[in-house]
Symmetry: C2
């Protein structure tokens, strides 16, 4: 019991759920919005912006990377993070499609 039965669901449902899970923590939402707010992708100061310790921030960045929501490229000793526009577009289109389908409904 208690085990997440993700294998019982379709790959598509799991993929969407994983995208949302990556954004299901305020720290990760804050990271995405911070990456949006800075001019360039070059930014190694995310730890300074968040009220969390460096290992915790590193962990959150890893989850966003694993979900393909952000990309990181090595720049000497620092790492440059930026948002992956492809993934954002996938999510936007997903909700756009839901909205479209809702327009042909009674609710």
């Amino acid at each position: 019991m208690g085990v997440s039965k993700s294998e019982s669901f379709s790959v598509a449902h799991n993929e969407m759920a994983n995208l949302f899970k990556a954004l299901s923590h305020p720290a990760r939402v804050a990271i995405v919005e911070y990456l949006l707010s800075v001019d360039t992708c070059i930014c190694g100061d995310i730890v300074e912006v968040l009220p969390l310790a460096q290992p915790t921030v590193s962990q959150h960045l890893k989850e966003l990377k694993n979900a393909n929501i952000i990309k990181g490229s090595i720049d000497g000793t620092a790492i440059c993070y930026c948002i992956n526009p492809d993934t954002i577009e996938i999510i936007e289109k997903y909700f756009g499609s839901i909205n479209q389908q809702l327009k042909n409904k009674c609710c």
Copy 2:
């Protein structure tokens, strides 16, 4: 410690994270897509569609309701669930705005 430091983040970041958390499980994604697939909102057969026991489905429905992603209205002994278009639109616009901001960027 392990306690989620959600109070350390803005209300806006928490609100968006809570929306995504509601959709961060394949069962809840499946519920949303099932509600989209049926003609009317009148549906008391969600349990039949999912590979989960009735109390588990009830719990997932509760989380979607709490996040305002679905609405439920009592119809005799059954409950009619349907998607809340307002919340879907909030999410779509959120990603639309991110996409817009990304267009003016180097990445």
